[in-house]
C-alpha cells in the first residue's frame, strides 16, 4: 500500500534529531541529560510506528522506500541499538568531555541513515542512506574533541569512508551503464535471462561489493576498523560495530542471495566471498589474540564476527543472519557497556591489566562481562552459541562444509582471548586500583537489558525465531 505513513518512522527520527540539535543550541543549563530523553522519546515513537506498520507492506516514493517485514525487523533492531547507545552516552558524555546534544542528534541521524539503507532496493536510495549514515558516524567517532585518538579515528574513518563511497558510486555508474537500471531486481532479471551482465557491469558489482565490505569491515577492507573502534567514544563504538554492519549485511543479503542462485555469478562472487569470509575470521581472531587493550581486542573480535555473518549470507540463510545480528547486538553492546562502566571522570580503563582482580572488587560487573564474553565465544547456555550453531549448520545444509569447518576453527581460536579476560578478572591479583565511578543508572539498565537478551535468547529463542522466519518467508 502506498501511503505517507511509510515515512513515519524515518520522519520521527529526523524530526527528533532536529529538535535535539536546536534545543542543544538554545539550552542555557549545564545539565544536558533532558536532550537524551528527548532523543530516546523520538526513537520510541519510531519504534511504535514500526510495530504499527508490521504486516502492512507500506511503500512510498513510487516503491523506492519499502517497509516490508525484513526491513521493519532490521529497523526495529536499529531502534533498540539507538536506545542502547543513547542510554550508554547519558553519563559518559559529561564524564569524557563529549557534547551530549551533538551526540544524541548525530546518533538519531545515523539511525535515520540505517533505516533508509535497509528499506530500499534502489541503489541510489541505498547510497543516500549510506552517506547519511557515514557523515553522521565520521562526526560521532570524533566527538571527544580533546582526545587525540578520537580525532585520529574520525580522520581515518572519514578518509577511508570517502574512498569506499567513491567506489560505491563508480560501481553504481558501471552497473547503470550496462543494465540501464538502478534497481536490484531488474539487474538480476537481466542475469536470469542468460544474457548476464556485461563485464563492466560485473566489475561495477565488484566495486559495490568492496564498498559494502568496507562498511561491514570484512578483510581485506578491515584495516580502518581497529583504530576507529578503539579511538571512538565507547557508546559510539557500539553503534559502529553493530549498525553499519547490520545495514551493510542486509543490503548485501538482498543483493547477493538472488545473485548467488545464478550460475555465472555464483562461480565468481561465491568463491570470492568465501575467501573473504575465511580471511576475515582468521585475521580478526588471530590479531585479537595479541592485544593488550580490551577495547581493541573487542574491536578485532567484531571483525571476526563479520566473518561469521558473511557465512550466513553465502549460505543464503536469512533467518540465521538476522538472529545472529540480534544476538550480536545484545552481546556486543553488553560487553562494551561494561567497558564503558569501567571509567570515571576523564579516565577510561581499557587495558587488560586494569581488569585484573575485577571479580573481587566489582563482582557484578565482572560476572556480566563474563557472560557477554562467553556468549561472544559461543558457549552453550548463552545466545551466542545458538546464533553460531544456526549459522554454521545452515552453511553445512547448503553444502558449504569447508566454510563451516573454517568458521568453527576460527571460533576455537577466539575462545583463547575471550577467556583470557575472564582469567584476568578472577585469577589475577590487581596491581593498580582502577577506581570506577559507579553512579550511572542508565548504563546499568543497558547492561541488564543486554544480559536479559543474551540469556533469554540463549534459552528460549523460539518466539524471535518464529518472528524472523515469518518476516523472511514473504520477501525471499
Amino acid at each position: 500500500m502506498t501511503t505517507f505513513m511509510a515515512l513515519a518512522p524515518l520522519l520521527t527520527v529526523v524530526f527528533g534529531a532536529l529538535v535535539v540539535l536546536l534545543l542543544e543550541a538554545f539550552m542555557k543549563r549545564a545539565n544536558r541529560e533532558p536532550l537524551g530523553y528527548v532523543a530516546a522519546l523520538a526513537l520510541l515513537a519510531a519504534g511504535f510506528f514500526v510495530i504499527r506498520s508490521w504486516n502492512r507492506d507500506l511503500d512510498y516514493f513510487g516503491g523506492r522506500l519499502v517497509l516490508d517485514r525484513f526491513s521493519l525487523l532490521l529497523i526495529a533492531l536499529f531502534v533498540i541499538l539507538g536506545l542502547f547507545v543513547l542510554l550508554m552516552g547519558l553519563k559518559y558524555a559529561a564524564r569524557q568531555g563529549m557534547n551530549l546534544g551533538e551526540f544524541c542528534g548525530l546518533v538519531l541521524l545515523a539511525v535515520a541513515g540505517l533505516m533508509i539503507m535497509v528499506s530500499s532496493t534502489d541503489w541510489l536510495v541505498v547510497f543516500l542512506g549510506l552517506e547519511v549514515l557515514s557523515v553522521a558516524s565520521y562526526a560521532l567517532s570524533g566527538l571527544k574533541k580533546t582526545d587525540r585518538t578520537s580525532s585520529e579515528a574520525a580522520a581515518k574513518y572519514f578518509l577511508m569512508g570517502s574512498f569506499a563511497g567513491a567506489f560505491f558510486v563508480f560501481g553504481l555508474a558501471l552497473v547503470f551503464g550496462t543494465s540501464g537500471s538502478l534497481d536490484f531486481s531488474t539487474l538480476l532479471a537481466g542475469g536470469v535471462s542468460g544474457a548476464g551482465l556485461a563485464p563492466a557491469g560485473a566489475v561495477g558489482l565488484g566495486l559495490i561489493l568492496a564498498a559494502l565490505s568496507f562498511k561491514i569491515a570484512i578483510a581485506p577492507f578491515h584495516m580502518w576498523a581497529p583504530d576507529v573502534y578503539e579511538g571512538a567514544p565507547t557508546p559510539v563504538t557500539v553503534f559502529l560495530t553493530v549498525g553499519p554492519k547490520a545495514a551493510g549485511l542486509a543490503v548485501l543479503f538482498r543483493l547477493l542471495v538472488p545473485l548467488l542462485r545464478n550460475e555465472p555469478f555464483a562461480a565468481v562472487f561465491g568463491s570470492a566471498l568465501s575467501l573473504m569470509a575465511v580471511l576475515t575470521m582468521f585475521a580478526g581472531n588471530l590479531a585479537a589474540l595479541r592485544q593488550r587493550s580490551v577495547k581493541r581486542m573487542l574491536a578485532y573480535s567484531s571483525i571476526a564476527h563479520s566473518g561469521y555473518l558473511i557465512v550466513a549470507v553465502i549460505a543464503g540463510d536469512g533467518p540465521s543472519l538476522v538472529f545472529y545480528l540480534v544476538v550480536y547486538l545484545f552481546m556486543n553492546a553488553g560487553a562494551f557497556s561494561v567497558l564503558a562502566a569501567m571509567s570515571r571522570k576523564g579516565v577510561e580503563y581499557t587495558a587488560l591489566d586494569d581488569f585484573a582482580g575485577l571479580g573481587r572488587r566489582y563482582p557484578w560487573l565482572a560476572a556480566c562481562l563474563s557472560v557477554f564474553l562467553l556468549s561472544l565465544a559461543g558457549f552453550p547456555p548463552t545466545a551466542g552459541f545458538l546464533a553460531k550453531f544456526y549459522v554454521f549448520s545452515g552453511a553445512v545444509r547448503e553444502g558449504h562444509v569447508a566454510l563451516a569447518v573454517a568458521a568453527v576453527l576460527a571460533s576455537l581460536i577466539s575462545v583463547a582471548y575471550y577467556l583470557k579476560v575472564i582469567v584476568f578478572m578472577y585469577m589475577k591479583e590487581d596491581q593498580g586500583e582502577a577506581a570506577i565511578d559507579q553512579e550511572n543508572p542508565a548504563l546499568y539498565l543497558v547492561i541488564f537489558l543486554c544480559l536479559f537478551g543474551v540469556v533469554q535468547l540463549g534459552l528460549w529463542p523460539g518466539n524471535l525465531l518464529a518472528l524472523i522466519r515469518q518476516a523472511l518467508s514473504a520477501a525471499f
Partner: protein, 114 residues
C-alpha cells in the same frame, strides 16, 4: 593578405602607443601585491599544504547551504504548474530544514570571529 598585414600593423601600433602612454602618464606607486601576475589575494607560490582560516571554511559551508537551496528553486519554478502546492510544500520542508541548520549555525557562533 595586405589587409591582414595592415590590420596587424595598426593594432600592433595601437597597442604600443597605449603602453607608451601608460608608461608616460600613469602614476607609479609599486607595491608587492601589484607586482604579482594575479591580484586574487592568494600568493602565487606557496607550499601545497598550508594553514587555512577555519572561520572562512565555515562561511564557505554556509554559502553552500544557501547555494543548494537556489539550485532546487529553479526546477520548482519550472515544474510548479504540474506539481502544484504539493511540490511547494515539499520544497518548503526542505527549506525549513536548511533554515534550521542556519539558525543552529548562527546560534553556535559561526559569525562570531574572534
Amino acid at each position: 593578405m595586405l589587409e591582414l598585414t595592415l590590420s596587424f600593423l595598426v593594432f600592433g601600433l595601437l597597442a604600443a602607443v597605449m603602453i607608451v602612454i601608460n608608461y608616460l602618464l600613469g602614476p607609479r606607486k609599486p607595491n608587492p601585491a601589484r607586482e604579482k601576475p594575479f591580484e586574487c589575494g592568494s600568493p602565487p607560490l606557496q607550499a601545497g599544504i598550508g594553514p587555512v582560516n577555519i572561520p572562512f571554511f565555515l562561511v564557505a559551508l554556509l554559502f553552500l547551504l544557501l547555494d543548494v537551496e537556489i539550485a532546487f528553486f529553479y526546477p520548482l519554478a519550472l515544474a510548479f504548474r504540474d506539481r502544484g502546492f504539493g511540490g511547494l510544500a515539499a520544497l518548503g520542508t526542505f527549506i525549513l530544514v536548511l533554515a534550521l541548520g542556519f539558525v543552529y549555525a548562527w546560534k553556535k557562533g559561526i559569525f562570531r570571529w574572534s
